[in-house]
């Protein structure tokens, strides 16, 4: 006789079955991978099929890049007959989650956009097509200095550092391997001045300050005469003070060798060249030169505030000028210059180089790897990146002609500001998470007046020392 207890047991088994099924439904295995050389892999797999009627998919998280990428896709279709569908998912966290889940289920697009330097984790899990031998000298020649060669190819120092770090998740990537190509670049070491405010209060609106001290004096004068704050930028984002202001000043003050040593743990932040920078940043807060709600101001609101004349200077990047003009600010009212070094700095003028921001890569689960590879090659040609620059106002990682008719006057100004000799191109500094966080919070604490330079130096040095010790010692 079947008792209710037995019936219940049967039902329980039925109920548990889906759980087991769900548990067993492990991530779909990636498409079968060839173990042959990358170039052969890229060309051999799709050789059996025709490209006609192929539709590629490409993902990005920058919505405003979509028109530029679609324009290139249209040109690509006209030339090859291959369609490319571009989709954007934002904000950043959503995009990251989308990629994580798609990587697990084998549903990544054919072409993926990802943060430059972040591709190693994807590559290490066999999600990306290797491009090491695919990017030939002609293709490499397209990229601006300090982009492909610096971030898209695994450098020796990054490899060594990863091998020492127990938490590193891409230990299986070797020196010289490459899985992506950059298509967007930028740099954030620019200052924008409001010429009207500068003209009325300090006379010559065309004269950029030669030193950081001179710049500080300008801010003080404007503040005294107009009560307008001297400086605004997106301080609510903790990275901004660190990467946009502290790092360029530190690089100029210490020079690339000492800069690298400080971050890599063989020198300390108590080095005089670093202390000078911290003191200068503290001086901005001590003189109340920031806009009042600076700690609640993010990047875009900061640019909006500057465009409305609420501050004399704004710190931004290659992407800022276009935004300011879009906000209705006249280009004639903007003076742009690189962050000026402190007096007595190692470099009298900081050369600014392009830094790669977004890379394009072909995924291994793509059924059309050959076509996808063809597309990223097409995407990173100077002609197509000119189209992109024109459509988006953003700076490509590819050398585009500095011709105002082709890329617009604003872009020409940016291109001319770059130098191939930026010390950042030679830097091998590795900024670890823990000391980075202490530094970011500490720089904000100057504004809240909760810390001094001496206290902050001690905290960062302790954090940096502990972090490098955990990795087996400083990076040599």
């Amino acid at each position: 006789m079947t008792t209710p207890r037995r019936a219940l047991s049967k039902l329980s088994v039925c109920a548990l079955l889906p759980l087991v099924v769900a548990a067993c439904a492990t991530p779909a295995a990636p498409a079968p991978q060839a173990t042959t050389a990358p170039q052969q892999e890229a060309t051999a797999a799709p050789a059996e099929q025709s490209s006609a009627g192929v539709e590629l998919t490409m993902w990005t998280w920058k919505v405003f890049h979509v028109p530029g990428l679609e324009a290139i896709a249209k040109n690509f279709e006209a030339e090859t007959g291959i369609k490319v569908k571009v989709s954007a998912f934002n904000p950043d966290e959503v995009y990251r989650t989308k990629i994580t889940t798609s990587a697990q289920s084998g549903d990544l697009p054919d072409v993926l956009s990802y943060w430059s330097g972040g591709q190693w984790e994807l590559a290490a899990t066999d999600q990306l097509l290797e491009l090491t031998d695919v990017v030939d000298p002609d293709w490499k020649a397209n990229f601006m200095a300090g982009t492909y060669d610096k971030v898209s190819v695994m450098p020796q120092d990054r490899y060594d550092s990863c091998q020492k770090d127990p938490k590193c998740t891409f230990k299986n990537i070797n020196v010289g391997q490459s899985f992506s190509v950059p298509y967007l670049a930028g740099q954030a070491f620019f200052v924008f001045g409001n010429k009207e405010l500068m003209k009325e209060e300090i006379g010559n609106p065309e004269k950029a300050p030669a030193t950081a001290e001179e710049w500080l004096d300008m801010m003080k004068t404007i503040k005294e005469k107009t009560q307008k704050p001297g400086l605004v930028t997106g301080v609510q984002n903790p990275d901004v003070l660190h990467y946009w202001l502290f790092n360029p000043l530190l690089m100029a003050s210490c020079g690339v060798e000492t800069y690298d040593k400080i971050y890599n743990g063989t020198d300390t932040f108590s080095n005089e060249c670093a202390v000078k920078v911290l003191n200068w940043m503290d001086d901005i807060a001590k003189n109340d030169l920031w806009t009042p709600d600076i700690l609640q101001t993010n990047i875009d609101p900061a640019d909006v505030a500057f465009s409305q004349g609420k501050a004399a200077f704004d710190i931004g990047g290659t992407y800022t000028l276009g935004f300011l003009i879009a906000q209705g600010m006249s280009p004639d009212n903007i003076l742009s210059f690189a962050i000026p070094p402190l007096e007595g700095s190692k470099y009298e003028k900081l050369e600014i180089g392009a830094s790669p921001l977004i890379d394009a890569m072909v995924t291994k689960n793509s059924k059309h790897q050959k076509e996808a590879l063809e597309f990223i090659k097409f995407l990173t040609t100077p002609e197509q990146m000119t189209v992109f620059a024109r459509a988006t106002g953003d700076l490509p990682a590819v050398k585009v002609p500095a011709d105002p008719d082709k890329v617009g006057a604003v872009m020409v100004g940016l291109l001319n500001a770059f130098s191939d000799k930026s010390p950042f191109n030679d830097s091998k500094a590795e900024i670890l998470d823990a000391p980075g966080k202490v530094l970011k919070v500490g720089l904000q604490q100057f504004i809240t007046k909760e810390t001094t330079t001496d206290e902050l130096v001690k905290k960062i040095d302790d954090a940096n020392k502990a972090a490098w010790e955990e990795r087996g010692g400083p990076k040599q």
Binding site: T26, Q236, I294, T448
Partner: protein, 330 residues
Amino acid sequence: MAQAEMRTISSPAVRKRRKTLLQVLKDNSGFLFVLPAVIIFLVFGLYTVIYSIVLSFFRWNGFGKFSILPFACDPPACQFAGLDNFAQFLYKEPTLSQFFWQALEHNAIMAVFVTLGTIVVALPLAIALNRAARGQAAYRIIIMLPMVTAGIAIYYVWTFIYQPDGLLNSVLGTLGLNLLQAKQGWLGQADRALFSLIIVMIWGAVPMATILYLAGLQTIDRELYEAAKMDGASAWRLLWNITWPLLFPVTVVIVITSINSVLQGYEMVYLMTYGGPAAHTEVVGLQIFKYGFGDQRQLGMASAMSWVLFALVFVVALLNMRIFRSQTEA
């Protein structure tokens, strides 16, 4: 012998006694009704919980293979870390642990003040509403508005109120209370940001607490008040000796839900301050979000932190229930 037994078992008489499958299902139809919910719970609830517990012992960036059944963890993207994820933020890594304990401290301050503030505001409101002779429904709608308005809109409105030239500073200026103004904005000053967030949290929690108290008040027998009044009890005595004790079970619910939501929530902090200024409003939930979905991609660490937070919430809820039960019994 064995054959004889088998014959006996399968004889028509026995078969008659046997229930058909349909009969069994009919007899246990209750289980069938709950089956969909059980399946959903097992797949989307229990499995994910177990997955998260296991994940907290691994270092995983989310890209490589990691699964429980069958077990898969392919290095180097996935590595067994044992208790290291927990140790890292609890004590081992000085910077991480400092930020974790600081965030937990903020959570604790929020939990205490939001819970107290909610009760202090909601109870008088509910009593007033209960006494309102007319327009009770209209008042209820007004009080419920913060609950039905989209969170993101509320947070942005409050952000504008808290700006240096926002409504709050303007009102204080008009009243001649310039000393109380926050020159860098209420969310931008280290000494005020956390309490400014607490006020928004209280504002958001009061409607539900008021409705719960109002429901509780309407179950109290009016004769108790009338009898006490005849004995000469003051309004304060009525509140302290009748209303408060009889609303105690409602208060327990409010305390537990309030503490839980404050300890686990992070959305408001994410939208209004992102943990700033200088990490003064950082909470554990936001740290978990940053580890799990930020550029660090340490899903094991995020899971470990989630479980520590869960353990804390669980212990606090148990303590609450124990304390309140002993008081109710007394």
